[in-house]
Amino acid sequence: MNDVELKRDKVQLGFWLYIMTDCMLFASLFATYMILRGATNGGPGGDELFSLTFVLVETVILLTSSYLCGIANLALRHGKRKEFFATFGLTIALGIAFLAMELTEFSHLISEGHGPATSAFLSAFFTLVGLHGAHIAVGILWALVLAWALYRQGSNEDLQRKFGLFSIYWHFLDVVWIFIFTIVFALGVA
């Protein structure tokens, strides 16, 4: 194994380890949400507040974004510059759309008087979903920095490696969202 390969190997492992620690962070918040989801403090619960169709649209957008990210990864590796920027641009755009929908939902809830400070249930809801949203925001920033670097330098081995890491991160957020969709929204409405 030469130095470059060893370095890639180390970073790859390190990044997976980071993902695992992030899993633990989300696990703590999921556990807290499960404990507190009945503690509505006399206010409305999930069945009255959540609209499953709205969340389903969000889910489809995020999953499509993740799918396109995978396509972009392939395009990058095969040196297809135009396809890469098209799919990666869409990945970012859909990420922004998802975030915008989530923020709309949040501001809607707050304006209706169901902000995070009203009950333990809503504190847990806003924090869990908001943490995922914050991760999406970081991902968008990261994607923009990567896109800029790729635009300026063109594709090279180092940037492909970095893109691979971003792609892991973006898929990971998808997996977390599936859990949020099931545990928070589907179970909340049921």
């Binding site: 380890l17 962070l25 507190l36 503690a39 995070p116 504190s123």
Partner: protein
Amino acid sequence: MSALLGRLDWSYLPSDPVTIGAAIGMPLALLFIVAAVTYYKKWKYLWKEWIITTDAKKIGVMYGIVAIVMLLRGGADALMLRAATALGGPGGTQLFDTDTFQQVFTAHGTIMIFFVGMGLMFALFNIAVPLMIGARDVAFPFLNSMSFWLFFAGMILVNAALIFGGFSNGGWLGYPPLTELQYNPGPGVDYWIWSLQIAGIGSLLSGVNFFATIIKCRAKGMNLMKMPIFVWSVLVTTVLIMISFPMLTASLGMLSLDRLAGMHFFTSDGGGNPMMYINLIWAWGHPEVYILVMPAFGIFSEVVATFAKKRLFGYKTMVIALIAIMFLSFVVWQHHFFTMGAGANVNAFFGIMTMVIAIPTGVKLFNWIFTMYKGRIDFKAPMVWFMCFALTFTIGGVTGVLMSIPAIDFQVHNSMFLVAHFHNVIIGGVLFGYIAGLTYWFPKIFGFRLHDGLGRWSSYFWVVGFMLAFLPLYALGLMGAVRRLDHYDDPAWIPFFVVSAVGVIVIGIGVALFVLQIVYSVWKRKTLKDTTGDPWDGRTLEWSVPSPAPHYNFAIDPVVSRIDEWWYQKQDGLQAPRAEDYKDIAVTKNTPLGFMIGMAAFVLGGALIWHIWWLAIISFIAIVLFAIARTMDDFTEHTIAAKDVMRMDMEARS
């Protein structure tokens, strides 16, 4: 509230004489250091050789210095606490008010665990792990530097509380609802939250770093079952760090959201559930004590084998025991609050799991004893520390098993008995282990040994002082004295508290001797010089390089074929290196970005404590920009040519 300074104003300056003294003393000490550095024109040296360094050994030394300074701070807190309880009996005097007392015990616990225990631990990880596995550095040297500066930022925040605004009065784990806004509106709890949050993220990143280092950077031929036991202990410790520290981040995060955004996670109103916090924080907190103690087990495994001149007894059982403790440490957290009312079955489960931990721990102790059996034991200071450990830690272990029985725990819960127990394992296990480790590896880093006699005397005072200070607390606990108490009405308790205070003074002499040992050894460094690189006739790879270890660690990549490779190489007869063995070495460049991120995190923490929102936003953006700058930097390494490596190696060996 002003937009510019948040809630910071003059009224937060200290008003009682004890804290005023500290609040004047600390800036004076700082000013003295700044003046000294300026006078000796050392700023450039400090910046280039230390602050921006990515060399694990230097980062380890900085961790060590911070931890020892914090040991003095935390020790001073302990003296104040025991002075207060010695005088706090019926007819006695109250040394300082109850709120100050609460701040002092909170600061004592927080500092000792996070900035002394974790600090010494990361010091030894950085110093020993790369050298022991035959690596040039850790897997991610920049991340390592950043972790240290985050740790440092947390340390400044803890100490800044002394001057501005006071510290938390909520105990070292900050149980809500006491630590919620409703009961604690001041900045104290926020200091506690943000110093731990920032230092904790540094620890988490270090956990990732050392796990990746051990998995990916071992010398050729060193498979997992040929690693030194200390490296094994670090490996399982880093697993614990990676799994448990995110829970700390989450619980502190939720508590701070309660305090900053008026949320209701753990409040007593709005549907909040304080016991959820207590479950979460102990799901981190119990693994945390194993995070602290397992590296100490690893150190003793090296120390005992080296000074008994024998191969470690039961290598495989040591590894199995470490892994068993790693798993078990995650299924015992509820024993910290048997009194919660989870029911008999739940309590029985956690009680039995707790008892089970005694088995792998006992295996380790017997392994060390069997290693010593028929060995030619050389009672150097690290070995004497081991003897002190074996005695005190066993007592602590036995009282721990006693408390794992829920029925007994109900009697001694939150009593002085508990305080005595955990000091028994933390001082007797963790601290003795780390001091043994510092003494053991000191020559490898600095090129001279620590004075042996002073080290041994320090350990005698420590262990005698320890017995005096904590055995009376067991009795007090059984007599009904609760913890965190600054005054009491029962005259029968007075003698016990007085003996305990005397014990703290004896420990203080032990600490003074330890500091004296370092100072005296620096003074006598010529006579204590380690000329061979192998002062203890060691067994593992770190002793194969010259002392002090060069910054690239190994001039020639080592190859390993067995446990205790270096010992057997010496038995087989060493061969002089040949010129063609030297290769070019790539070394990570130094960078100020780790330091800058740490300082920005410090400013962010301060801004959040004082509600200075504009500053919080700016420092947060600064952190993001520094991180992006690092990812954009493609030239992070430089190469040392093979002939230069050879020249430097020849010089170091001659």
